[in-house]
């Protein structure tokens, strides 16, 4: 639920994300030599990360592309190129077939046919190594073929779940050639289709926004008029015909594309008001008087949306919008969003409340109910959704859900759940104890949490068997980030003063940034490209060595760098001088 489906092992790879992989793949197989060179350079960095675990296919592709790039520049002679191609092709054939060997070496030709590598490629390799060098023409042909083979067999299969599924279900001996081509065609079609659907979706979103904006516009006008009229205490305005028409359209749209409407509704500027909107409704946009533990909507803002919601309120819509709101809540939105989302949830839950609370009565009186008849809610799902999206108001919302359940949970379970929830959200119990809180346990320590955890976990499991990572998530994770005391920071800074180093004192929630990510880092795969760099040439290290060796009485001639086994000899004299220099006893 959190990141990756369980059961799939996670591997460490050299590309930061899928985007970087796609980026390199695109460039590798593009026509532009500059782009291909760019891809080769990136693969050089990948090799740096992978070290000796570089995938054989990646290395082979890079070698072959390098040949084509060099060929394309036109600076190379034919014979040079044959040698280059020759090595790249030989390595490809050998490396890719290496794993096909069992304990006993088999003829490459047979192994190749298992992998759909035609015999002429293997023969090309044999020619390179054992016989007359093939012509440049054949080399180019071979290289092109192998690159295509690699694209089909490796690059387009890897990291695309659809293809992996295909691959896993099919046996290795299947006719890959045809399959590969077909898959390619399929892929093309699918891609085209995808773009079309995406386009359509975008249009629908636009339409939904337009409708909702015109609705808001209309409502604001009504509100303005209302305000003016209230001075005159004139008769209340009925919904204008314009509004009725807009509502009908929205309703129509909603019945067709409920999801899209919902998407737009939960965006800022609709169900979540912008500061401007709030100001024009005479609500303080700073939100400093709002109680994030007990969110409730400003009435005038609620009234803005009531007509529309009344029109839309059907049982499926209510369930859907609740789901949607909880989902938004779990995306860790801003405080402002959190408040309004939880306030809307609370509002809807209150409308559905079965007991006649004061609030409900007031709502009735004020005609503020979004819907009148109770809607059967999927309480189990709601609870797990609620727990999956912890925020300050979670205990409050949970309380509402629990009390409204048609088949209420055992009270002990309810208590435990609420208590756990409060511990997690750090809601202070002292100043906000709702009716159900157990006053005997006002302070929670880690121990009491541990005690409670067993029980709560159990109850959770009873509640929502699907809700796997819940308990782990409910554990407080605040402590996990290192909090350096001001003293420590000061000490470290003092130790580092005068050097280019310093302690990073930015207020960064590092625990949210995995290794390799920093705040403000773009998702773009070219975000780490270096624009300017300088090169430093280090003097021969031996200079330093001599320097150190002097106190030992060594002459600088004693330690000389050698290059290669055929370098100058360490003469016996040198050696004994060196030895003498080291003996201090």
């Amino acid at each position: 639920m959190k990141r990756k489906p369980a059961g799939k092992t996670r591997h460490v790879v050299a590309w930061m994300n899928k985007a970087e992989w796609d980026h390199v793949l695109d460039y590798l197989y593009s026509k532009d030599l500059a782009l291909r060179t760019h891809a080769l350079h990136r693969i050089s960095a990948w090799k740096g990360r992978f070290g000796h675990t570089t995938p054989v296919a990646v290395e082979s592709t890079a070698n072959l592309v390098r040949c084509q790039v060099l060929d394309g520049t036109g600076n190379m002679e034919g014979d040079d190129l044959v040698l280059l191609y020759g090595m790249a092709l030989t390595r490809f054939v050998n490396l890719i077939l290496e794993r096909q060997h069992g304990r006993v070496a088999k003829p490459l030709r047979r192994l190749a046919s298992n992998l759909n590598i035609p015999e002429w490629i293997v023969n090309l390799r044999h020619d390179m190594t054992h016989r007359r060098l093939p012509s440049l023409k054949w080399c180019r042909k071979g290289c092109e073929f192998v690159l295509n083979w690699l694209q089909q067999e490796y690059w387009s299969r890897q990291l695309s779940t659809r293809h992996i599924a295909d691959w896993n279900s099919s046996s290795e001996e299947e006719d890959e050639e045809e399959g590969g081509k077909k898959q390619d065609d399929d892929k093309m079609e699918a891609e085209e289709e995808e773009t079309v659907t995406r386009q359509r979706e975008r249009e629908r979103h636009k339409r939904a926004r337009e409708l909702l904006i015109s609705y808001e516009h209309e409502q604001f006008q009504v509100y303005e008029e209302l305000r003016q009229h209230s001075h005159e205490r004139g008769p209340q305005l009925n919904t204008s015909t314009d509004l009725g028409w807009i509502l009908a359209q929205i309703n129509q749209f909603g019945s067709e594309y409920g999801d899209i409407l919902m998407d737009v509704l939960v965006q800022d500027g609709f169900l979540i008001p912008t500061a401007e909107q709030l100001e024009s409704l005479d609500i303080d946009p700073s939100g400093q008087f709002l109680d994030s533990f007990y969110p409730s909507l400003p009435r005038s803002f609620l009234r803005l949306w009531l007509p529309l919601l009344r029109v839309l309120s059907s049982a499926p819509f209510i369930n859907q919008i609740l789901d949607r709101l909880f989902a938004e809540l779990s995306n860790e939105p801003t405080n402002h969003r959190t408040f309004y989302i939880s306030a809307w949830i609370s509002e809807i839950l209150q409308c559905n409340s079965k007991c006649e609370s004061k609030a409900l009565r007031r709502m009735k009186m004020m005609k503020e109910r979004i819907f009148v008849s109770r809607v059967p809610l999927q309480c189990q799902e709601l609870i797990s959704a609620c727990l999956n999206s912890p925020c300050a108001a979670t205990p409050f919302l949970l309380q509402q859900i629990l009390t409204d359940m048609d088949k209420p949970l055992p009270t002990v379970t309810q208590h435990n759940l609420l208590r756990l929830c409060r511990i997690y959200t750090q809601c202070n119990l002292g100043d906000c104890s709702p009716s159900n809180t157990d006053p005997s346990q006002p302070v929670y320590t880690v121990e009491s949490l541990q005690e409670q955890l067993a029980g709560a976990e159990q109850s959770r499991r009873v509640l929502s068997p699907k809700h796997g990572p819940g308990p782990a998530k409910a554990m407080p994770t605040q402590e996990i980030q290192e909090q350096l005391s001001a003293e420590t920071i000061h000490e470290r800074q003092a130790a580092l003063r005068g050097s280019p180093w310093s302690v990073c004192t930015d207020k960064v929630p590092w625990k949210q940034y995995p290794l390799g990510k920093v705040p403000g880092q773009a998702e773009d795969p070219s975000c780490l490209m270096v624009e300017t760099y300088s090169t430093l040439t280090v003097f021969d290290q031996q200079v330093e060595l001599d320097h150190i060796s002097h106190p030992h009485g060594n002459t600088s001639g004693a330690v000389v760098s050698r290059t290669g086994p055929d370098g100058p000899l360490w003469t016996h004299g040198d050696l004994s001088k060196l030895k003498m220099g080291l003996k201090l006893f």
Binding site: K18, T477, Q521, L536, T537, L569
Partner: protein, 726 residues
């Protein structure tokens, strides 16, 4: 034989420095000598008497001085512990602590006490390293003496209140175990991996994970002051037990305590290292039994042990370190070399093919030497299985604490280190040798040095080995081998006179042969061949945590566990630490193992392991990163993780356990082929977004998805089918 004698002298002297009652020293010494080296004492007290005169030639003056010095320090019994700790600090204040002490004392004492050593010499038989000569019949199996006769029964009691276990071992009894604990010797003396721990010494952490040979605690028997009868000794031991156990468990243990039994306190060990390692799901059985031990049901059920994190082993699995005869002999002659009248500190180079037992021997040797000297130098020439540093580093360390666990449990900052970046040196032999030469310059020559070499003893690897022997003017060469066929040529002094190295060559055959030959002969080394006889010698471990890449990962995890705070804080993943920052243009960046396109360099560096190095040059860039044109050989102060790069502000973020006062000198970051353990990247708790460099969608089933795989010993069909096919 004379050298041998000298060894006992120095043991004596170390005690001397730490022991109370200067007046009764005489007697204390006698006892100690006796218990330590029974074999040699019996063999010839008469010869021993000759030694002092020989050894005294030049040193006597110095010795006296130091003796006085040592006396001044040894104040009271209460402080003995403290003093000992002090003595173990690098030997600045006590150069050659081991040499002080009166030689005359010994000669007298030998004859006096030699008559009763034999009463328990038998019990010390397990203590293989101290055996010599007379015990020829002692095969490694001798250590398993309990195997058939009596099932191992341990007298151990757990105290719930104080959360520790008191174990009483009879003389000669031993405990071979898996797990981890903190060991304090309350009474008597025990030996672990060659290191003797006695009453009054600090607690020592013991680690015995299934990645390595299990540790064994051997009771050496007490050396109660003579003149006190057995009853007194017994009462004293019982008092100690009483002090450490509450009434209920005490009763059961008291009856087992005798005057010569060892009382050992075992406490659970909960260090940041242990917490950090076991926080990874894959490693939660790191201190359990190996699968082989589980299969053979070698565990001894004992609640008192399991309460502090130990599992005792029995049967064949409880053999511990298998010490062959040649092993024992080599160890004792090295000890003698240190103690003897050798005119300089021994330079001991240990070599042998992979899995021939080099590193275990090194640990054993260092521990044994530490019984006699305050510190031992250690030069690491093996890039793959490093002892004190993360893999890929060459280093020179001063060892003052015994090594009672595998390398990943004692990762520490080396005194001098060079970052090589790969786990083998094949790619750049010259840089490898240059790095080692630069480290060698820091060797003071004041304490013995143990040089560990890599397991590559074929082809160029062998040539490099020849170079090393010449560079370091090795005095003692330990060559380990296994099986029937030798892994490489015997590195005798004669062989070296004609062998070609990679950088060095044999001296041209001189015309004036006489003079030079004489010279060389005097400079030649002593070759000690060891034939390893442990099970599985020469084959790499296949079980969990035994493969070399796993051990490398463990070493890195051990290194980064230094970041964890000592308090009872939760274990923090690496990304949760507040990083250091440094401008891109203020530190140089280099890749040691391959060519990376300069403008893509940060793709290789981001979220990678880097060596923190210090160049002499001043690094001043022009905005962007500063790239190195070639890999320098420069000092490295530690490793870090390049946590991220802030492109907008031009900053590297770095997480490292290196203290800031050292970090300030760092002006060069080197990338190597040694990468972060995978689990550090795949398990980053608290991160809600997608993890960079981690994917679950990469399929290794697809052709070409795997790494280059070298099949060794791929047989050709023609060899199988007797050339019928071809």
């Amino acid at each position: 034989m004379k050298v041998h004698k000298a060894s006992s002298r120095s043991k004596n002297e170390q005690r001397n420095a730490t022991k109370r009652h200067p007046k009764s020293k005489w007697r204390v010494h006698n006892k100690r000598i006796r218990s330590l080296d029974p074999s040699q004492l019996t063999s010839s007290p008469t010869v021993a008497k000759v030694v002092p005169q020989l050894a005294n030639r030049q040193k006597s003056k110095l010795k006296r001085l130091q003796k006085a010095h040592a006396k001044a320090v040894t104040l009271s019994p209460e402080e003995s512990n403290f003093v000992r700790a002090k003595v173990r600090v690098p030997p600045v204040t006590f150069p050659r602590v081991h040499t002080n002490g009166g030689t005359e004392l010994e000669t007298g004492s030998d004859s006096e006490d030699s008559q009763d050593w034999s009463s328990y010499a038998k019990s010390v038989l397990q203590n293989g390293l101290e055996m010599k000569g007379g015990e020829e019949d002692l095969t490694p199996v001798a250590r398993v003496q309990l195997e058939d006769e009596e099932p191992p029964e341990y007298h151990a009691q757990y105290d719930h209140v104080q959360n520790h276990t008191v174990l009483v071992l009879q003389q000669g009894q031993f405990l071979c175990f898996r797990g981890k604990c903190l060991l304090t010797c309350l009474s008597g003396r025990v030996e672990v991996m060659g290191f003797t721990i006695e009453q009054g010494q600090q607690p020592y952490p013991l680690f015995s994970p299934p990645s390595h040979c299990p540790l064994t605690i051997i009771a050496l028997g007490d050396c109660a002051p003579p003149g006190r009868n057995r009853k007194e000794g017994r009462l004293e031991a019982k008092a100690i037990v009483r002090k450490h156990l509450s009434s209920e468990p005490r009763k059961r243990l008291l009856s087992e305590v005798d005057s010569d039994s060892c009382v050992v306190l075992l406490q659970p060990l909960d260090t940041p290292l242990v917490r950090f390692l076991t926080s990874f799901g894959e490693l939660d059985h790191l201190f359990g039994l190996s699968s082989k031990e589980l299969r053979s049901q070698a565990a001894v059920q004992n609640a008192a042990f399991s309460a502090v994190g130990l599992t005792a082993l029995r049967g064949l699995c409880a053999r511990g370190l298998v010490v062959s005869r040649s092993y024992r002999e080599a160890l004792s002659s090295l000890l003698n070399a240190w103690e003897g009248d050798f005119d300089r500190c021994p330079i001991i180079l240990v070599c042998g093919a992979k899995n021939s037992g080099k590193s275990s021997f090194n640990r054993h040797l260092i521990n044994t030497l530490l019984n006699h000297t305050a510190s031992v130098e250690y030069l690491e020439c093996d890039l793959g299985q490093t002892e004190f540093t993360p893999p890929g580093c060459l280093s020179l360390s001063t060892v003052t604490e015994p090594l009672l666990g595998p390398p990943f449990t004692h990762q520490r900052e080396a005194e001098h280190m060079v970052f090589y970046g790969q786990s083998d040196c094949q790619a750049d032999l010259d840089r490898y040798l240059d790095s080692l030469k630069s480290l060698w310059m820091y060797y003071s020559g004041e304490s013995p040095i143990v040089i560990n070499t890599m397991g590559w003893v074929k082809g160029h690897g062998f040539q490099v080995l020849v170079d090393l022997i010449r560079f370091f003017s090795v005095t003692h060469l330990v060559q380990l081998s296994y099986g029937d066929a030798p892994q490489c040529a015997n590195l005798t002094p004669e062989f070296l006179r004609s062998a070609h190295g990679f950088q060095t060559h044999p001296p041209a055959q001189p015309v004036l042969a006489d003079e030079l030959d004489g010279h060389l002969a005097s400079r030649g080394h002593v070759l000690l061949s060891i034939h390893s006889e442990f099970e599985g010698a020469g084959t790499s471990g296949e079980m969990r945590h035994q493969r070399s890449n796993e051990l490398r990962d463990l070493a890195l995890l051990g290194y980064f566990s230094q970041l964890q705070s000592a308090g009872p804080c939760p274990v923090r993943p690496l990304h949760c630490f507040t990083p250091y920052q440094v401008p891109l243009s203020a530190v140089a960046l280099g890749v040691t193992h391959c060519e990376v396109a300069p403008d893509h360099i940060l793709y290789a560096a981001n979220a990678s392991l880097v060596g923190l190095c210090c160049l002499d040059e001043k690094v001043v860039g022009r905005g962007g990163p500063v790239l190195l044109s070639q890999t320098p050989v420069c000092p490295c102060v530690g490793l870090g993780v390049l946590r991220g790069v802030d492109m907008a502000r031009g900053l590297y973020f770095l997480v490292t356990p290196v203290p800031p006062a050292v970090l300030r000198q760092v002006n060069c970051l080197l990338l190597g082929e040694v990468t972060l353990p995978k689990m550090l990247l795949t398990m980053q708790h608290g991160v809600e977004t997608e993890l960079p460099y981690v994917t679950a969608d990469y399929s290794f089933d697809i052709t070409g998805a795997g790494k280059l795989h070298v099949f060794k010993g791929l047989s050709r069909p023609c060899f199988l089918k007797a050339k019928t096919n071809n």
